[in-house]
Amino acid sequence: MEPTTTRTDTRTRTRPGRIGGRSFLIIRGTGVLLAVLALGHFAVTHLVNDVAQTDATFIARRWSSALWVVWDGLLLVTALAHVGTASVAVVRDYWTDPAGQRRMLAALRGLLLVLLVIGAVTLLFAAG
């Protein structure tokens, strides 16, 4: 029995509206940026340089260059923004009562804020 099908491959000219909402755009935007920033960061710290060489003097050298300070700073902010926005759907999938969701999201935001502050302080301190 063949399924009755109305499969027509018509491309309708729907009036172009915006793609998705704000969180949709944030996740995709930070994600694309992170693909470059994070993979690049990993490449330099683990592949180009062996991980044994990335000691304190390596950090001092790396963060005396404006390029890497900006790179790592941007990496920090975009990564945490990406996690914060993308995990909303994840929390909603596994905590199904509204109170539990709010608590989990608040805890997550708290953690991300702490990490942001620690990371920013470390970077600014080291960059002088």
């Binding site: 993979l39 990993f42 596994y94 620690i118 990371g119 470390t122 301190f125």
Partner: protein
């Protein structure tokens, strides 16, 4: 010395959390996902060249979720251990010694796999939205993502493990 112990404790917590999260995802999948059974049937289905290749999309979703969480869990630990540098470069070096041990290097290969897959699959999802490819196109892109992830992971693993295993 203490710094190293603290780091190892943190690392254990991170690993435990990742395993717990994966378990939670698996339990949720058992209940709400009506699409797959692990085992011989799955393997044959993944091998089929029909619209059934959609199975790959399903696994890609779970892999994307777990890999994303794993990278984040590591990231939290990483931000903290690098912040040791601001306390004292000596303490940072102390902790950093652990990174070049063989078990940590193996972990790094896993991290690379997770990061590479999540990034490449994420780009695939953006491509699906922007160019409106259908399920077959998505499955083909997934083949490319899986292949590229394997290449990057294997290549990276060679580079990472080389100094520790002979070099």
């Amino acid at each position: 010395m203490i710094a190293q112990l603290v780091f190892l404790a943190g690392f254990t917590v991170v690993t435990a959390v990742i395993i717990a999260f994966t378990g939670m995802v698996a339990v949720g999948a058992r209940r709400t996902d009506g699409g797959t059974h692990v085992g011989a049937v799955l393997r044959s289905r993944l091998a089929r060249r029909s619209y059934d290749r959609g199975e790959g999309n399903r696994w890609a979703f779970y892999a994307h979720r777990v890999s994303g969480f794993a990278v984040f869990a590591f990231l939290a630990l990483h931000i903290l251990d690098v912040s040791a540098y601001a306390w004292s470069p000596g303490m940072y070096d102390d902790v950093h010694e652990l990174y070049s041990t063989v078990p940590m290097r193996v972990f790094e290969c896993g991290l690379l796999a997770a990061l590479a897959f999540h990034a490449l699959n994420g780009l695939r999802l953006v491509a699906i939205d922007v160019w409106d490819v259908g399920p077959v196109g998505a499955a083909r892109l997934l083949d490319a993502v899986a292949g590229l992830t394997a290449v990057l992971t294997l290549g990276g693993a060679v580079v990472i493990m080389w100094p520790a295993l002979g070099g």
